[in-house]
């Protein structure tokens, strides 16, 4: 009986007893959700256009953030380091298309997936050689990102909201909006979607596979840079940023691998629900650290009823 009470009643009485705390939990969940969506978007874009599950997305976040900070540490001003880093990510996209992807056209998906593991290992080595393994401070203030906080006092309590987090949320919304606009309204964007729908048909109407691949890998690089700046400003820039890519996997399972909307909604759902579960059920009843598995449980539950994810395309193969 006590157990049922602690599962079904107590969490809700706790929420009602401290609504300011609940608001704080919801805000933190929203911020986490936006960050998860950002990482997942990088995967979705590449998968949409090439059916490649990009294992290197995590290390691209590290590499982009390290390049930005590394350039700044070598005396390049922040305003210049940002476009230069984008330039490096563009060169990387071209190099990946030329050296890795082009020779593997028409190979099975698993070969291309393995190739992205190779890219990961290469970027780990390259990053370590050029920038070293030490933790570096993200140049948050130098990039003009505010670092103060707002304190609100609702219901007699307090809610603290970091300006940095607000910037991250607004930045992510702008980035996603621009991306959706690009994908839906521009010629190139439509070409990416066409490739995602049917490679052969897209090629037959003259869409250049190599141009589109360079483009999507570059956009994934831009997203990686944005992700690196936001996450790096929380705890520094190091190779540890790579593991945050793991947080995107349940988002992709939940939202669907091909859906930009799925990545956004899935990320937000996981961010908010895992935070609520950890605080009100996980920590009091299960000893905490439920965030490590909660998102996967949620995704599995969804997959039981919708194997293609919430927003994924249902693929029917005729034989």
């Amino acid at each position: 009986m006590d157990f049922l009470h602690s599962v079904l009643v107590k969490p809700f009485t706790d929420m009602a007893a401290a609504p300011d705390f609940l608001l704080q939990v919801l805000w933190e969940g929203t911020v986490s959700g936006v960050l998860y969506s950002l990482i997942a978007l990088g995967f979705v874009l590449i998968f949409k256009s090439s059916r490649i599950f990009n294992f290197a997305q995590g290390i691209m976040v590290v590499f982009a953030a390290l390049t930005l900070v590394g350039l700044y540490e070598r005396g390049v001003p922040a305003w210049l380091a940002l476009p230069l880093t984008l330039g490096v990510m563009f060169i990387l996209a071209v190099a990946i298309e030329r050296v890795v992807l082009r020779p593997l056209v028409n190979q099975p998906d698993i070969i291309l997936f393995m190739a992205t593991i190779g890219i990961t290992l290469f970027l780990i080595g390259l990053g370590e050689t050029i920038f070293g393994g030490e933790n570096k401070r993200m140049i948050t203030q130098e990039l003009g990102i505010p670092t103060g906080s707002y304190i609100f006092e609702p219901f007699g309590g307090f809610v603290s909201i970091e300006q940095r987090d607000i910037t991250a949320v607004v930045g992510a919304i702008v980035l996603v909006g621009a991306l959706l606009l690009f994908l839906n309204k521009s010629k190139m964007g439509r070409a990416i979607r066409a490739l995602g729908d049917d490679h052969q048909a897209a090629l037959s109407v003259g869409i250049s596979l190599s141009t589109i691949w360079v483009l999507v890998w570059f956009i994934a690089g831009m997203i990686a840079l944005a992700t690196g700046i936001v996450w790096g400003s929380r705890a520094g820039v190091s190779f540890a940023l790579e593991v945050i890519a793991l947080k995107a996997l349940p988002v992709l399972m939940l939202g669907g691998l091909e859906s930009v909307t799925g990545a956004i909604i899935g990320g937000l759902m996981i961010g908010i629900l895992e935070k609520l579960f950890e605080i009100y059920w996980g920590q009091p009843l299960l000893g905490g650290n439920t965030e490590a598995w909660f998102a996967y449980m949620l995704a599995l539950l969804v997959l039981l009823f919708r194997p293609q994810g919430l927003f994924g395309e249902k693929i029917i193969e005729r034989v």
Binding site: R137, G236, S238, F239
Partner: protein, 438 residues
């Protein structure tokens, strides 16, 4: 003709013999000291400066002294990425010629511990690993000088209680820890203390994927409103926790860490906001020591180091790396002297490790006064229990703010003995160190 054929056959035999003997002869000129290091992966930020320090000390001995008593040190790293499976692979790949192994994570240490008994290679795990390894009568091949995690936990508790543990009655202490064998290591001792002294102890785990976004953990800390938070963090978890503590305005004077959570590189993420954060540490940087001068002259200026920038030389972790290699080098020296040999065996190295006497005089002789707490190991005491200092972040660097603290051995020893016995029973037949009469 027959004579000629015999001569030719003899020459061929000599050539073949030489081909086989040559590598063995080369191996005789050096002592192979492998290190299961990690300069990549999520924990590289904390691993790299320590590995740099370890490498540089061995380079110094080779460059300045021509090795140890004329034998060069073949220091080698095998990259594990702090991954237990890779760590075991590295151990297997390097064990053939190793005189000692350094597993560099509590998880890897626990995995290689039974193997080293069979392979008869001593494990050097300074300040980490399984705390009951201190019991040399049970763990014949494992060494964790100069202080164990349980020593660290005891020192932190006594420090915040100002030596009177009864003053903790009714208080609440949170342990925010990496959800790994390392992070969970001090929990049994904290629970024992909590039961004895009437304080509430609450462990809060942080998973590897949550290291950089600990908002849930710090929301819980806000809700629990503890009197003190202790941290057993590593890698990006340290910087993540410090950032969240600063963000949630948790008073830094109530936040203290173990020695692996006292890293200058992590503090850079919070800078001034981290002012007042403290950690217990068995080493402190002494940048104007004779040893550091030698390191600059013989290693750094010759371009033989892998350090990122010069400021790393003053870091707690870089100089801890130097101290750790010093322990290995002093064990080699002790064994060479005892067995009147220059090239020693793993068994002789084991003797060296359990006869380390790093006292003030020895530190003075090595040019390392004040860089590490003095300690002494024996066949029964593989840790030395030298204690540690409290170091405090002043906004730009760590400063020593206490005298040497000592662990509460009366409380720890029975738990060590019980856990060591439990381990031996669970891994039976476990060979005891019967030669030790202490």
């Amino acid at each position: 003709m027959q004579t000629m054929m015999r001569m030719t056959a003899l020459s061929a035999a000599f050539a073949a013999a030489a081909a086989f003997v040559a590598p063995a002869a080369l191996a005789q000129d050096s002592l192979y000291v492998p290190n299961l290091s990690y300069r990549t992966g999520p924990f590289a930020a904390t691993g790299t400066p320590i590995m740099n320090g370890q490498r540089d000390y061995m380079t110094l001995l080779n460059e300045r002294d021509g090795g140890i008593n004329g034998v060069r040190i073949a220091y080698d790293e095998c990259e594990t990425g702090y991954n237990t499976e890779k760590g075991v692979e590295c151990y297997e790949a390097t064990k053939a010629n190793a005189i000692v192994t350094q597993p560099w994570s509590t998880g890897i240490t626990l995995q290689v511990l039974p193997r080293t008994n069979v392979d008869q290679i001593p494990v050097l795990a300074p300040g980490y690993g399984f705390s009951p390894m201190a019991d040399g009568k049970v763990f014949k091949w494992a060494y964790n000088p100069p202080s164990s995690y349980w020593d660290g936990a005891s020192m932190l508790l006594n420090y915040v209680a100002d030596g009177d543990l009864s003053s903790l009655n009714g208080k609440k202490i949170v342990l925010i820890h990496l959800d790994a064998p390392y992070g969970r290591e001090p929990i049994p001792l904290f629970e024992k203390y909590a039961a004895e002294h009437g304080f509430t102890f609450l462990p809060i785990p942080v998973g590897v994927t949550e290291m950089q976004n600990q908002s849930a953990q710090w929301l819980q800390i806000r809700r629990e409103n503890p009197d003190f938070v202790f941290m057993w963090g590593w890698g990006a978890m340290n910087a993540g926790a410090l950032t969240e503590a600063a963000r949630t305005r948790f008073p830094m004077e109530k936040f203290l860490g173990i020695w692996w959570s006292g890293h200058d590189g992590d503090m850079a993420a919070v800078g001034e906001q981290g002012k007042g954060y403290r950690a217990v540490s068995w080493n402190v940087p002494v940048s104007d020591s004779p040893l550091m001068n030698d390191i600059r002259q013989h290693v750094i200026e010759k371009g033989l180091s892998q350090i990122g920038n010069q400021s790393e030389l003053d870091w707690v972790f870089y100089q801890r790396g130097l101290v750790i290699s010093m322990m290995a080098a002093e064990a080699i020296k002790a064994a060479q002297e005892e067995f009147d040999a220059t090239v020693i065996t793993p068994e002789q190295m084991r003797w060296g490790l359990e006869n380390l006497n790093i006292d003030e005089a020895k530190l003075e002789e090595l040019g390392m006064s004040g860089m590490v707490v003095p300690f002494q190991t024996t066949c029964a005491n593989h840790t030395g229990h030298g204690g540690g200092w409290i170091i405090e972040w002043d906004g730009s660097k760590f400063e020593r703010v206490s005298d040497i603290l000592s662990p509460d051995r009366e409380v720890i020893e029975p738990l060590e003995a019980a856990e060591a016995a439990k381990y031996a029973e669970a891994n039976a037949p476990w060979p005891a160190n019967d030669e030790c009469s202490l």
